[in-house]
Symmetry: C2
Subunit: 555 residues, 2 copies
């Protein structure tokens, strides 16, 4: 029988090769096309999603002491899906029982099974897209891409790194040392990968799969049973993932409790309870800086976080002003600014900038971006497809509260045909450099500030300081002066922000491509981890050796 590992070896090897060259690579097609996914895939996915609604979610063999589920679609209506619920004690006991069997599997057995899981998840991308759309508020195209193939690629990337890190130590070696003129000494040595314990993956509301898969696949690959704790408003995408993982584990003869679901309703505190347990050796978390800090300071295990940040754009000049406005308009509008990669602050010299259209004053730059947003979102259908819906009531409240924070350049409006509580185009305001309390705070959602700096260098300085103090996952700069670009590259690197320069076409600062772009750096307050590097995988396992002498005749 061909093993999963052999079957999917090419998928793994190509992913690994791409992470080395960091050239373009696609492992799973990002286009939601019937030609690729099957002519009935779209309808089948929708039907599968709808069958989940107002029903008990089935996880055979999963510990259950009740049920939980209070998800509400940002597009309207409760999902009505009810998941098995279990206490921290019960989940940990189940994971402990599943641990020996999973730990005893070889890296190839575990990685092979997880490659198969990714391939199966890919085939279910339409179903998962509907689940992501109706829990996060992402428009369908993004829910498909980011929630499906791109998330799967981020999982594959983490899996590839984890495999490489484990495979670097051989399973065995013969060690022969010649001492003096006597018989050489020969030792047979063997090494085995030792998992750290139980892993906890805490999902977020906005990108449950994209942000969740890397930690999940890295922890599982290295042998740690994993408890998946979704955000209470975005359980379904991860519950489907857990269900498929458990089915596959059972098929392959493992205890399905290698992957567990910690479902809860808003107000629950099981993430805290679990994180405080000695048995939880690894925690992956995406979300607010407040809980991120709590985890870093209190969790018993090693914590990998992506937290709050304030992503800056520095505008010092351009040879494509229209492209700049168009590009930033899209970046500010996409998923209503609810991406951890969305820009918030646009630093512009108060005296304006030089462009291919001549000098543009500070107000003309701000106005250019505002007009770009108006053009992009003029058609309501397109506005819905770009902005999607607001995932949380808190975001609506933030927008309403924010409009007095500066001089409004562009007011936020609901999107025609959508619930006004759940849709919003970007609010854009002008502020002064001194208004740090206003703009140097993450205002998650479609809220942007154009900040008046003294000059280009001051704009760069303010942006870099913001990253150092508040964190950032992305940074962007527009400049025609190579010296400024070089300076920006060095300064943003120091504070650990990945920089995009002069984006005027079809690539946006919000976007991060698996296998090529690292997501975050782990080097500023926006998080202590990077998706995916060695540091993200290397601490999830240890290696233990056994050595013994080999009789010289056998050597």
């Amino acid at each position: 029988m061909t093993s999963f590992f052999d079957t999917h070896r090419k998928l793994l090897d190509e992913a690994l090769a791409a992470t080395r060259t960091r050239e373009f690579h696609s492992a799973f097609p990002e286009i939601p096309s019937g030609k690729i996914y099957g002519e009935t895939a779209k309808d089948d996915g929708l039907a599968a999603y709808e069958a989940r609604l107002n029903a008990a979610f089935s996880l055979p063999g999963h510990p259950s002491e009740g049920e939980a589920g209070a998800e509400i679609s940002p597009y309207g209506g409760a999902l009505g899906t009810k998941y098995p619920e279990a206490s921290a004690d019960t989940l940990i006991a189940a994971a402990q029982a599943a641990k020996p069997g999973w730990a005893a599997a070889t890296p190839e057995e575990r990685v092979g099974l997880l490659l198969e899981l990714l391939v199966r998840l890919n085939k279910r991308s339409f179903e998962i897209a509907n689940a992501v759309m109706n829990t996060t508020g992402q428009a369908f195209p993004m829910a498909f891409q980011a929630g499906g193939p791109h998330a799967q690629e981020r999982g594959l990337e983490a899996l590839a790194y984890a495999y490489e890190a484990m495979a670097r130590t051989p399973a065995a070696a013969q060690w022969t040392k010649q001492e003096g003129k006597g018989e050489p000494i020969t030792m047979r040595k063997r090494w085995r990968v030792v998992p750290r314990g139980i892993a906890l993956m805490i999902g977020c509301n906005t990108f449950p799969t994209w942000n969740g898969y890397p930690g999940l696949f890295a922890s599982l690959a290295t042998g740690n049973p994993t408890i998946v704790k979704p955000h209470p408003m975005a359980i379904l995408p991860l519950a489907i993932t857990v269900q498929m993982a458990r089915e596959l584990l059972s098929e392959a003869g493992y205890d399905p409790n290698v992957v567990l679901l910690a479902a809860e309703e808003p107000g629950g505190e099981i993430a805290k309870e679990l994180a405080l347990r000695e048995e939880i050796a690894l925690v992956d978390y995406t979300g607010s800086g407040t809980f991120g800090r709590w985890l870093r300071e209190n969790a018993k295990g090693r914590v990998f976080t992506e937290e709050s940040g304030v992503n800056p754009v520095v505008v010092t000049g351009t040879d494509d002003f229209k492209g700049l406005c168009r590009n930033l308009a899209f970046s500010l509008s996409l998923y209503s600014g609810q991406m951890c990669t969305s820009p918030q602050n646009v630093f512009v010299p108060k005296g304006g900038i030089e462009t291919d259209e001549g000098h543009k004053s500070f107000d003309e730059v701000a106005q250019g971006i505002a007009v770009g947003i108006d053009k992009l979102l003029g058609d309501p259908a397109r506005a819905g497809a770009v902005c999607g819906a607001l995932a949380a009531d808190a975001t609506r409240e933030r927008i309403d509260a924010a409009k007095d924070l500066g001089r409004v350049i562009r007011a936020s409006t609901p999107i025609e045909g959508m619930d006004p509580q759940r849709s919003a185009t970007p609010l854009l305001m002008a502020v002064e450099a001194k208004d740090r309390d206003v703009y140097m705070e993450e205002r998650f959602g479609p809220i942007g500030f154009v900040v008046a700096a003294e000059d280009a260098h001051d704009a760069l300085r303010l942006a870099v300081e913001g990253v150092r103090e508040k964190g950032a996952i992305t940074a962007a700069i527009y400049a025609t002066d190579e010296a400024i670009l070089d300076e920006a590259e060095a300064r943003f690197a120091e504070v650990g922000a990945n920089l995009s320069c002069n984006l005027t076409g079809g690539i946006y600062v919000n976007q991060s491509a698996a296998f090529s772009d690292y997501h975050a750096t782990g080097a500023n307050p926006a998080g202590n981890a990077c998706l995916t590097d060695y540091a993200f995988v290397a601490e999830r396992f240890r290696v233990a050796a056994a050595r013994r002498p080999v009789a010289s005749a056998a050597a």
Copy 2:
């Protein structure tokens, strides 16, 4: 001009290759022979060491606000060497000033310089051996091997891992994506290694270079200026290392304060002061579990530790009883049990074991080991060469206090011709399994317990429990039953102890060979780090990206 990196490329590549195969590799000759190191090397090294005594230690350009130095040789007499002393504030300010230049160097420039440093250190192995001998109490042969070439190899190993981890990300890539039928999108991407901050390396009394070099070379290679804080009684070996590093840094045009010395006298608290500073991003530490825990709980940066442990030996049977006794006698005697790899507890079934010499009762096994020690150490010159001297008064006190803890099988004696306060052969006692308070505590020094277990499985179980609770860096087992060996391999792996099986010849459980044997695992209370794996290097740097579109004509 050929760069250091090009000059030493082979040294690096061979080391990397060896860490992958984990077959035997020697980078620096371990034999203190004039044929290898030069006919005058031995005399020159001694003379260079003696010139350090009763003199000010020169570190040109090093911050100095006073002087410190109260080292006393375990072989008698104060060293009288006085080192520049500076406050934590001053050291951190100097490191901060040196940081930008070192961070701006490429990984190849830094690694090249550090390879050159290792080669220079190797040439000074005799001088360093004298410094190690007279601060640690190691006999000269061990001081040469472990303090010189073996320490250099452990540094090289860490350097090789650090280089591989940094080099895994290319400096640049061109990323081209075909979207639909239009022009492809091409981005030029660049990545740079970003150091974490300032590193602190806290050395130990017994193996200042062997345990210190891995962290030192890993932190420096990844761009972090490093403050070397030696144990107050073992400053000289690391001071010589710092001096040579600073000379080389100056020659190569870097600020010598990339490597700083934090010398202090007993009772000083500069390690604590430094560890509590935000600027200290990385801490490497070898020493007691008490301070190790304090560091893990209080230091601001990432902490890598090797701490206290209780190393077990499980004796269930053998086909070479004489070899077993000889081997364990050596392991218990070597450097008077002052190695973090020295065994302490020998678990033996109370009903005895089967051997090639027939059944041996519990007492016959204990007696066999005792007689092995007597034979090994019968000749005083040989005893001195094996045991060396006691590094600390506390060890003498522990031996004196320990002799009432069990039934004495073999009394500890001073070594003829050596200071009785500073020399001791192994004390060996028999205890019951229930005497956990006695044997499940690290009793650093030449103190061993033969513990009576119910049977072979109980012996294994007790040993494994001890590792889980108290930690261990090494474990050993003697068995003729393959099932027991398999069981031991699995159980010790779970608790993260590297296991040696049936050592009866010229390899000892205390020994760990660079490039092949990992030292510690990081998976039990004896420390959270392993020398050297990816986890030891991957968190010492981050990678930051800059990307920009390439005009399609250029693509």
